[in-house]
């Protein structure tokens, strides 16, 4: 059955709490631009959703007006930077206890500016109960939406847009959450919603789903029967009781009937033969804990058995569980997981969702926002504005967003500029995992990297302030950024699984999100501008030197150039130290720093052999840093490929991250190079060299979330070589990525800890050339 937790049951006596004070810039953010409201009121929690826009500063680069007179400045900088205001759509979801609903609605009304909004889309059992209150408080008409339709819509949305949304739960494992790689095709799947009853829904496409079965034995049975048996009124308290109980005191086990295991049927002695079978007596008192545990097993097993039946009957192996019975409760996730594995003999794995509690609200919102076509965009979880998954282990209690008197949980999703898809060259998109090291798994690495990011925070704050010399409030915002990011790091120390699998990538991305949140869109813009200027002035000389070399020598020099360019990376602390102290640190010196061959990972000889063969049809290159790296490392390499008759797609980040070259910068840099170099010039003109954007703003690279247009082009041009450059893209991520074509992954290890771990030392070289994966 559908969730109908808002029976008015356990929560009706709680009363409404009006005394709560809400800090506006922390909970209901961006209300002034809010429109399109939706609300999902369950048995104990309310989820409010709205669409808003966020005004951000963004750094834009553009060519100087050629009529400009300032020749002096022109030599210093190849282009100009302007900071502009940009408006990006954002979805806000806030989850809070039903008892605060009145206070929250008042708050929303007081801060709501937009008067166009007339309707609030409502779902959940409580939508009916609170209808009048909502209409009276907000002055919006309540439009009721079907509970299950909303749930499915929400589920599709999170599965499509949030990497690591789904996880398997493993009791006693560290971490207990095992996140799943998002499958490129999310359909078909089974959603088992355990509200007060159980609904089993088969979802076949975006719009087609079918109720295939259900059961009346669900969360309401646990709660209702549990309350009768134990005199414990609250659902959470019942779970606490169950966590401490011994069900064998109440249940009749196989060994109680057989005296041991059942040999011929192969039944272990401690399996339950009859739930509550021992309580059929008046001679004995039973402990509430034991009864609660027995009840929990009875219900979880029953649901698991039913879910397996349906999964088998419909040939589905992806089964997601949701509903208030599950909602992050380790106790129920554990028993359901066990039951599913038991009844399916391990063939079906129970999966849970990080944002399970928000599905209804997301769905109701999407129903109401159909004219904005939210389904046609890709959305990304904003780590700065989202609370993340909290372990609600009974002993821990809710940990996040606790204000005086209330607990709030937030989810914010940014609309991405463009739809994201998988790189068509991935061998198996379904099993592709971008990240090399899972920090949730690897405690040692986690400890190091969290410390590393904490240590680097001062420098980032300093740089952020320095990047906005004209802004009076820069220092204040930078401090806010520091606090925000520091808090995130501390949260991640305690709950590494808060945003899915913890990785170096997620730590970097979280930092970028936090910087953006406080209007530091591109702290490296001037640094990059300056470096690009310096590097462009060296370009002609570097290319001439390369051209003077014999073919074989030139190939090695090109590779060394790529690697040397990669030493210039403000993201790595060891390098930023050198650069800060010695701005004259040059390309040549970088080359001298490089490890001599044989490198730590060295398949250069194979690469050279390959170059002696027929040219590649088309190379896809993911560039890394601005300045020396892209101009003196990547472009000469591109030039050589072009000369061999290979087409080149140069893919750069859509948005800024550290000193990585952005797409916008790459266009200007290419323009300058084309002016100096006929090879590049003609290749651009003839579209043999194409500059594209990745769709990403991360220092790392997720090949399963790339700009759709890039993916299409890669297919059209028949790319048969992928070059991935830099530590973030080729080591932290994609080091083990299997591609259907040849690939070249190269980087200089600029982190001593990582270098040691990989068996090398600082500035060790990774040069990994691979044949198409089988």
């Amino acid at each position: 059955m559908a969730e109908c937790g808002a029976s008015g049951g356990g929560s009706s006596g709680d009363g409404l709490d009006k005394s709560i004070t809400l800090p506006p810039d922390e909970i209901f953010r961006n209300l002034e631009n809010a429109k399109r409201f939706a609300i999902d009121i369950g048995g104990s929690l309310t989820k409010l959703a709205y669409y808003s826009t966020v005004q951000h500063k963004v750094a834009r680069v553009r060519s100087f007006d050629h009529a400009g007179q300032d020749a002096e400045r022109d030599r210093e900088s190849p282009y100009e930077i302007s900071v502009q205001e940009e408006v990006t759509p954002r979805l806000h979801f806030i989850k809070f206890e039903n008892s605060y609903i009145e206070a929250c609605l008042d708050f929303v009304r007081d801060h709501l500016v937009n008067t166009e909004t007339k309707v609030i889309h409502a779902t959940g059992g409580g939508a009916y109960k609170f209808k009048d209150l909502i209409e009276q408080k907000l002055g919006l008409r309540v439009a009721k939406e079907d509970v299950m339709t909303c749930l499915i819509k929400g589920c599709n949305f999170v599965l499509k847009n949030i990497p690591h949304e789904a996880f398997a739960y493993q009791k006693d494992a560290d971490p207990e959450f095992r996140f799943q790689t998002n499958h490129p095709h999310i359909f078909p799947y089974l959603l088992v919603n355990i509200g007060s009853g159980v609904s089993i829904v088969k979802v076949e496409t975006e719009d087609r789903f079918e109720w295939i079965g259900g059961s009346s034995i669900g969360g309401g049975t646990f709660w209702g029967l549990g309350a009768l048996l134990t005199r414990t009124q609250k659902f959470d308290e019942l779970l606490h009781l169950a966590a401490r109980g011994q069900h064998a005191n109440v249940d009749m086990l196989v060994q109680d009937i057989y005296g041991g295991a059942h040999q011929t049927l192969g039944l272990s002695g401690n399996l339950i033969a009859s739930s509550f079978g021992k309580s059929a007596t008046t001679d004995q008192e039973f402990f509430p804990e034991d009864m609660a545990k027995s009840l929990l097993h009875m219900i979880s097993n029953d649901i698991g058995q039913l879910a397996c039946f349906y999964a088998r009957l419909h040939g589905l192996d992806r089964v997601y569980f949701g509903g208030f019975f599950i909602r992050g409760h380790p106790v129920t996730m554990r028993t359901i997981t066990y039951s599913i594995s038991f009844f399916s003999k391990g063939e079906v794995q129970a999966l849970f969702l990080r944002h399970e509690g928000y599905l209804g609200a997301i769905g109701a919102f999407l129903k109401g926002a159909e004219q904005d076509n939210p389904d046609q965009y890709s959305w990304g979880e904003n780590y700065a504005g989202s609370s993340g998954l909290m372990s609600s282990a009974p002993e821990l209690g809710p940990a996040q967003g606790t204000l005086k008197g209330g607990t709030f949980d937030l989810l914010e999703m940014d609309r991405l500029e463009r739809p994201l898809v998988s790189l068509p060259l991935l061998l198996d998109p379904a099993s592709y995992v971008p990240d090399t090291v899972d920090l949730t798994d690897d405690a040692l690495a986690r400890k190091y990297w969290l410390g590393c990011f904490e240590d680097a925070l001062d420098g980032v704050v300093k740089r952020a302030v320095a990047s906005q010399p004209g802004a009076a409030d820069a220092a204040e915002r930078a401090e806010k950024f520091r606090h925000k990011y520091w808090d995130k790091l501390q949260t991640l120390r305690l709950q590494p699984f808060a945003y899915g699998t913890l990785t170096v990538r997620s730590l970097l991305d979280t930092r970028e999100h936090c910087l953006n949140e406080f209007n530091f869109p591109d702290p490296y813009s001037q640094v990059k501008q300056k470096e690009n200027g310096v590097a462009l002035r060296c370009f002609r000389q570097v290319v001439q030197a390369l051209d003077a070399l014999a073919w074989e020598e030139r190939q090695l020099a090109l590779v060394r150039g790529l690697l040397a360019g990669n030493v210039f990376d403000w993201g790595a602390k060891a390098v930023s130290d050198v650069l800060e102290s010695d701005p004259q640190f040059g390309f040549e010196e970088a080359k001298r720093k490089l490890e001599e061959r044989p490198w730590l990972v060295d398949s250069y000889d194979t690469w050279l052999q390959r170059l002696k063969g027929p040219p590649h049809k088309c190379a896809l290159i993911f560039a890394d840093n601005s300045g020396v790296d892209v101009i003196l490392g990547v472009f000469p390499f591109v030039r050589e490929l072009l000369s061999r008759g290979t087409e080149v797609i140069l893919a750069c980040n859509s948005g800024p991250a550290l000193n990585d070259v952005t797409y916008g910068e790459s266009l200007l840099v290419a323009e300058h190079i084309a002016a100096m170099d006929p090879v590049i010039h003609s290749a651009l003109g003839e579209e043999r060299l194409l500059l594209m954007q990745t769709g990403s703003s991360s220092p790392c690279l997720d090949l399963s979330r790339l700009d759709e247009r890039l993916a299409v082009l890669v297919q059209e041009r028949g790319a048969d070589l992928v070059v991935i450059e830099g530590m973030g893209r080729a080591v932290h991520t994609n080091y083990g990525a299997a591609l259907r074509c040849e690939s070249l992954k190269l980087a200089v290890l600029k982190n001593p800890w990582l270098a040691t771990r990989l068996g090398g030392r600082l500035f060790s070289v990774i040069f990994k050339f691979e044949a198409p994966a089988q």
Binding site: T221, T264, A273, N301, F309
Partner: protein, 446 residues
């Protein structure tokens, strides 16, 4: 046989006769880290039965020399061997989780010569069992089930059906010792979990060698046999003609084409078997939510002490005060999913509310417990029938004893949710088939 002693030893006041059947319920996981294997599929295996038979027979042959039994016993044994039938008394025993089921064949064609030769203890057993309808405070003979003028192995007689709670097994074994059962050189054919659990007690206390029999084989053989002999001229199998009608008539059903058949045995727990022929069946699944759950929860919720009392309360209760129905949530049918308003959305769902908890009577709670367990069994049975592509479902087991509410609900639920595709069948001797099957095994002994 000192009936007074038996009565005394079996008296355990305040104990309940609970429903059971020779089945263990679904091996539901105990602890999530328990490594249970679920034996979903299993073929009947006649070799295991005959192997067990061989060893038991060997034991039987060894017996006589070690006991100072009279020459009469030896004569009787010779005669029995000549006629290829086992020695009297003929018992079949099924020791379940809650109830022990005992079937006893009372020969009515005893010749004067036989009667004279009959040892005293054998005679007293016969007299004791057939002249009483209750044994101690907990043993009961279901007189209405007695099968009269049955011919078994060439002997004519009546088949008696007796049950007592499993917790009185020690008293039963003690009685066997006191009455020197072992001197009768009879073989005790027993099935059910207790055949394993009490095997050692039978041997050490009662000096009785149990012949343990596969409970699923016994169940199926018992059903097929009892169906074939009918019920004193009436049909054994029946169904409800129009399950939607609460007044619907119980009508005889001719199980002339029994296969394939889904057999749902509801004892303390539930086992579900798909039967394709007498020797070809598999255990499909089971559930731990069975008769023991109904009665156990009723005891906790209402303080009742007997199964009869629990059912009586249930018959007077109203489950809709306890359960949350679809119409309680949607005001009517939930059309999006084609769910009628009367469907239970959440069993005990109304009990989340304190006010409603206070308003519910014990009778309402008993009724809701019965409805919850019954509906769940119906739903699992329906899924199995669908998966196995079988459309006749026979429900047996002592949960159904005097339990018309559950039977009608099963009949209705199966009919409604399968849109008339599935038929629920029931059998008069609902809980005794395992014991009958055990008796039949005894008669196979040459």
């Amino acid at each position: 046989m000192g009936t007074g002693r038996l009565r005394a030893s079996m008296e355990r006041p305040g104990r309940a006769a609970a429903p059971s059947a020779p089945s263990t319920g679904e091996p539901a996981p105990e602890e999530p880290d328990g490594r249970g294997q679920e034996p979903l599929r299993r073929r009947a295996n006649s070799t295991s039965v005959s192997a067990a038979g061989t060893s038991a027979e060997g034991a039987r042959r060894d017996r006589p020399s070690s006991y100072s039994s009279a020459a009469a016993a030896s004569r009787q044994r010779l005669e029995s061997l000549r006629k290829k039938r086992p020695l009297f008394p003929w018992f079949g025993l099924d020791i379940g989780g809650t109830l022990v089921k005992l079937v006893y064949f009372e020969p009515k064609d005893i010749t004067a010569e036989e009667e004279e030769a009959e040892v005293e203890s054998l005679k007293s057993i016969r007299k004791y069992l057939t002249s009483n309808v209750a044994y101690g405070s907990t043993g009961i003979r279901d007189v209405h089930l007695e099968l009269k003028d049955l011919t078994l192995c060439g002997r004519k007689g009546n088949l008696h059906f007796i049950r007592f709670p499993t917790h009185d097994m020690p008293a039963f074994i003690q009685m066997g010792r006191d009455k020197n059962f072992s001197s009768l050189h009879t073989v005790f054919c027993a099935t059910g979990g207790g055949a394993y659990k009490f095997e050692q007690d039978f041997l050490t206390i009662g000096d009785l060698q149990l012949r343990k029999l596969d409970e699923l084989d016994c169940l199926i053989n018992g059903i097929l046999y009892i169906d074939s002999v009918g019920f004193n001229g009436r049909s054994q199998c029946y169904y409800f003609e129009n399950p939607a009608d609460p007044e619907s008539q119980k009508l005889p059903f001719d199980l002339k084409n029994p296969y394939p058949l889904l057999l749902v045995n509801i004892g303390s727990g539930v086992s579900i078997l798909a039967v394709y022929s007498k020797n070809n069946y598999k255990r499909v699944t089971g559930t731990s939510l069975g008769g023991g759950t109904f009665f156990g929860l009723c005891c906790l919720l209402t303080g009742c002490t007997t199964f009869e009392e629990a059912l009586d309360m249930a018959s007077r209760g109203d489950s809709t005060k306890v359960d949350k129905l679809v119409r309680d949530i949607y005001g009517g049918d939930y059309e999006r999913f084609g769910l009628p308003g009367w469907t239970v959305a959440s069993s005990f769902g109304n009990m989340m509310s304190k006010e409603k908890r206070e308003a519910a009577s014990k009778e309402d709670l008993a009724r809701a417990t019965l409805i919850t367990i019954t509906n769940n069994i119906g739903s699992i049975a329906r899924m199995c029938a669908l998966n196995e592509n079988i459309n006749q479902v026979v429900f047996v087991g002592n949960f159904l004893r005097i339990n018309t509410i559950a039977m009608r609900l099963l009949a209705y639920a199966l009919d409604y949710w399968s849109k008339g595709q599935l038929k629920a069948l029931f059998s008069e001797h609902e809980g005794y088939f395992g014991a009958v099957g055990a008796l039949l095994e005894l008669l196979k002994i040459p």
